[in-house]
Symmetry: D2
Subunit: 112 residues, 4 copies
Amino acid sequence: MDDSMKEDIMTMLECYKSCTRTITHCLQMGGEHASPEHINLLMDCAKICALAADFAIRGSINHAALCRLCADICRQCADQCESMAGDDEEMKKCAELCRKCADVCERMAESA
Amino acid sequence: MDDSMKEDIMTMLECYKSCTRTITHCLQMGGEHASPEHINLLMDCAKICALAADFAIRGSINHAALCRLCADICRQCADQCESMAGDDEEMKKCAELCRKCADVCERMAESA
Amino acid sequence: MDDSMKEDIMTMLECYKSCTRTITHCLQMGGEHASPEHINLLMDCAKICALAADFAIRGSINHAALCRLCADICRQCADQCESMAGDDEEMKKCAELCRKCADVCERMAESA
Amino acid sequence: MDDSMKEDIMTMLECYKSCTRTITHCLQMGGEHASPEHINLLMDCAKICALAADFAIRGSINHAALCRLCADICRQCADQCESMAGDDEEMKKCAELCRKCADVCERMAESA
């Protein structure tokens, strides 16, 4: 596995970690942050990033197809976190990592 | 795999499904139901039940040890759901399934 | 959640269980059954089915998109299991469950 | 989350990645490396490390208990990889990461 692939897998796992941490953070904030819609989207994003990393680690033939879907969900999550973030640093950071992961996944989907 | 094992695995997957569904339900209820502590415990229980089922399906040598921990978490989750349930049918049902799964896991841990 | 949805989720979890069990079975058979390509495809199928069930249980807005990909991977896995099955009952059974799950996922993807 | 915790979580995810990659590597090697016993132990270790990281990221109250079990499985996996490694660099590296993760998990279990 080359270094660029290792870095991409790390980006997916960082996004998984960020979304997972942000779920707890949003539950503490309450209100729309703790709505089923937002928490479910954070869960979607955390889980699909973890799976995309897993497919990449194993060199699965279905990796590119999964990355395409992962990019889409990451972008939804980035948009929603951004629109809710206000001055909250954790939400802004999560949006940023989701967007970075979306870019990585899109590139992987296209280069496959 | 004998029928009793198949049924036990089904109980663990039922508990995983119930806790996962109950997370969304609790977020809709709000208040203490949507507290990080309660949601995190439901997540703990959903995830450990899914993993215990996985270890059982694969016939892992570590299955009994995992079942012991799974039984403990299921019982915590049953207690917390019960104490919050009031008249809510979904919470009562979830507590019941967690308790059933705890019993199954304890039996599996002891018979291994 | 209506009964038809419950049944569909059960089909996805049955496919997850079947592919997971079949991995151990194929490792015991050895040869091409234990090739990285076949084991990796069984893992892809097991993991995406478990995730598709999870998205369905939570009522995720991304469920239909995930079902589309899941259907595709299930069909690949069904084809490969079938082509290797010969007289092996477990392989034939796994192929059958993968095909059933592919049909369910396709229907869910279209009706969303 | 302090830096030491972040590093510990990274160690668990590194161990998950290493065991997952080693499964494919062992299937390519064949023989006892591709035995159901060895592949199942690598799967046990990959999956429990991923779950232990998840519990740590969420700050779960059950994290210490899960780390205790994770340490035990990591040590089993380290021993088995070591005994099979011979001159194989990937197997030796995997054994090393499993042992490092076992140490981290033991410390976390005791300090909780």
